[in-house]
């Protein structure tokens, strides 16, 4: 027994000391991080004409920049909202990942300034942007980054020439003009044999594509940026079996209401449409029974958009302190349930349009027998704005109700889909 113990002990003595001198083939973690940071640094500074930068803050929209990095931790920057080129500092640092920090105040930081007097951001929050970014991916000409604080995506695209730099900010205005050539509420595009309903939101630079599979609506959405005649998607749009990263060569067609583009090397067209691809007839019922504000009314804060012109009847300019056009779907009028559009300003109620007798639902569409009772309003400008609103509501073809998001509904005229109200 004792011998056995000695044998074990001896075995332990001779086997205990195993030296392991192996090193990672690719170098240590530190060495690899250092190498990747050097590579990013070299890439950033190597762009002769600098980089075009596109930052997506989400609800506060997309901002466009020109960056010129040198190898001395200096960067020259201009932006669509502040085109004067200014110099500040940057550095690369290994935080949890290789990261790019804009480490002294610059044009970019204005977006994130917590002081509302600086760039009209929210107090203590700014516009939800970033100035510290981690590297997500890099190809020779495109670097994708993501903010560390608000997770805003930043895409850097290598600029090819001085001319391209000069054109980048003007390109945004041009793109908005081109896209606003599509004046109807409903827009379509056909890619790889499938027709999609397209929706743009220009203030937030968002695009969404909806298609129907066995009657079920499928929607993909992404923020987009304008780079010359191209729009790039911050989040690639997965459409059936294809993935769309960008649309190129976006131009107005000579025909009215058509915009040409190239998707994955194929010519495609955005076209106007006066009806939805598939209309959900159940929406109207829910809309009438579940007003979101206090359970009483829906709020269309801007009045009618007509052919892409927001607040076409200028409610904001005609009604002093205008606060909203509210739709009350369940108004008890002398014992009869009816509906009313009521105009509100800072001082309160300033006129209404009554649907009397109650609205008619026809094939899921809503028809207002709008009996305008705005005659009590004596101010001429105010009355004209209300009259114009009433005239559209009186269209005998009625309106589609489109659910655009949680407690968000658009009322779109059936006649030609050029007039709509957005309720929330």
């Amino acid at each position: 027994m004792k011998n056995l113990i000695y044998i074990f002990l001896l075995a332990a003595v001779f086997s205990a000391c195993r030296k392991d001198d192996s090193k990672p083939v690719n170098g240590t973690v530190d060495e690899r991080i250092e190498a990747s940071m050097t590579a990013y640094q070299t890439q950033l500074a190597s762009a002769k004409f600098g980089w075009k930068g596109f930052l997506n803050t989400g609800s506060n929209g997309v901002y466009t920049f020109l960056f010129n990095f040198n190898d001395k931790n200096r960067v020259t920057m201009s932006a669509d909202y502040d085109p004067a080129a200014l110099e500040s500092s940057y550095r690369l640092k290994a935080l949890q990942q290789p990261s790019l920090l804009f480490d002294t105040y610059s044009t970019l930081h204005k977006l994130q300034d917590p002081d509302p007097s600086k760039f009209n951001g929210a107090p203590g929050a700014g516009k939800g942007a970033d100035f510290e970014f981690r590297f997500v991916s890099a190809t020779a000409d495109t670097i994708k980054l993501e903010g560390l604080f608000n997770q805003t995506p930043l895409v850097l695209v290598r600029s090819a020439s001085e001319e391209e730099n000069k054109a980048v900010f003007a390109g945004i205005t041009r793109m908005k003009t081109v896209l606003s050539n599509l004046k109807t509420y409903f827009k379509r595009i056909t890619i790889a044999g499938i027709t999609y309903e397209v929706r743009f939101d220009l203030p937030t630079s968002t695009i969404s594509f909806s298609s129907y599979e066995n009657g079920a609506r499928k929607t993909v959405t992404s923020g987009f940026y304008t780079d010359g005649t191209r729009i790039g998607f911050f989040k690639p749009l997965v459409l059936g079996n294809t993935t769309l990263n960008e649309l190129k060569d976006i131009n107005m067609d000579s025909g009215a209401g058509i915009v040409n583009a190239t998707a994955l090397g194929t010519k495609v067209q955005f076209t106007q449409a006066i009806a939805p691809l598939v209309y959900d007839k159940t929406v109207v019922d829910f809309f009438l029974n579940n007003p979101s504000n206090l359970g009483l009314y829906w709020d269309a804060s801007d009045g009618f958009t007509i052919s892409g012109v927001q607040d076409a009847f200028n409610l904001n300019g005609s009604i002093p302190g205008f606060e909203g056009l509210y739709f009350f779907p369940k108004l008890n009028l002398n014992g009869t349930l009816t509906q009313s559009f009521r105009f509100y300003s800072a001082v309160g109620y300033v006129g209404h349009i009554l649907a009397y007798p109650a609205v008619k639902i026809q094939d899921g569409k809503i028809l207002f027998n709008a009996t305008a009772l705005y005659n009590s309003v004596t101010n001429v400008k105010m009355r004209t704005a209300q009259q114009n609103t009433a005239i559209v509501l009186q269209q005998p073809e009625g309106f589609y109700l489109i659910n655009t998001g949680l407690q968000k509904y658009d009322l779109v005229n059936v006649k030609d889909a050029t007039a709509w109200l957005s309720f929330k």
Binding site: V13, I33, S88, F102, P114, K118, G124, G126, E132
Partner: protein, 281 residues
């Protein structure tokens, strides 16, 4: 025999020779290409006073890393540092000498562009940590030559330096007995005038005996004797007596603990402020 093998085995068997010459990658903290601004800081702060001035963004330097705060504008760095040098460093160095200052000075200043917005609706303008580091905020709004800008920065520096002095040699305990019952954790709900009428020089002075002491010291230095007298004149006799007693303890403390002539120091600070940001007549 076996035992002998075991013993030698234990003592000789496991001799590992480690290679300690491998360089560590990324050691040495942040690096960047130094520019004229870095040279200025090195010449005016780091070399003479062994202070680190950090103006480049580093979120980890902030006490609360989840707040939206932005870095300083480079063009504000030197004006702020010049103001601090004139109105805070120079008076102490002139009166007590460089060695005294180097011994007690907080070693790091972190400069930030905006304020920090807090969830209780207040904003933070500066933070000091245990006599080692001072974080100065809202520096993007700093205007050289603007009296209130200059006074605000200097007030912070004198306030924090007061803490260091007090932590090294504590003020006599008769100081805290003057307004013993009035200290309050909710000092921020008390208006300045109300604090004054209770015998405090500011509402923040009500936070604790230590804050009281350094507020007294820093406000008297930065606002000057005339303003102090003007404040006293508006108060009831009881509050007057309390503030005057606090003042006399501050003066005797500086003299006995550090051999500093308070009036001379105050005059120096005032002279510097008046040169940098003359009062508009």
């Amino acid at each position: 025999m076996v035992v002998a093998i075991l013993i030698t085995g234990y003592f000789t068997g496991c001799k590992k020779k480690e290679d300690l010459s491998t360089p560590l990658v990324g050691l040495g903290g942040d690096t960047w290409a130094k520019g004229p601004l870095d040279d200025w800081i090195s010449t005016n702060y780091t070399t003479p006073y062994n202070m680190e001035i950090k103006y480049k963004w580093d979120r980890s330097e902030l006490g609360e890393i989840n707040k939206d705060v932005v870095p300083i504008l480079e063009s504000k760095v030197i004006p702020v540092l010049e103001t601090i040098k004139s109105g805070w460093i120079n008076p102490y160095v002139d009166i007590k000498g460089g060695d005294f200052f180097k011994k007690y000075v907080q070693k790091q200043i972190y400069m930030v562009g905006s304020a920090q917005y807090n969830s209780n609706g207040s904003i933070t303008l500066g933070v000091a940590e245990s006599g080692r580091k001072v974080t100065l905020m809202v520096l993007n709004d700093f205007q050289k030559g603007n009296r209130s800008s200059v006074e605000r920065i200097l007030h912070t520096m004198h306030h924090e330096f007061g803490h260091i002095l007090n932590q090294n040699i504590a003020v006599t305990s008769d100081y805290q007995r003057i307004t013993a019952g009035s200290y309050s954790a909710t000092w921020f709900n008390i208006a300045e005038e109300d604090a004054n009428s209770m015998g405090f020089i500011s509402s923040y002075a009500m936070a604790s005996k230590d804050e009281d002491f350094v507020e007294m010291l820093s406000i008297m230095l930065v606002d000057g004797e005339d303003n102090f007298q003007a404040l006293i004149a508006t108060l009831e006799p009881d509050a007057q007596a309390k503030l005057l007693k606090k003042k006399s303890i501050v003066i005797s403390y500086l003299k006995s603990a550090f051999g500093i002539d308070f009036v001379a120091l105050q005059n120096k600070v005032q002279a510097e402020i008046n040169t940098m940001a003359p009062l508009k007549k």
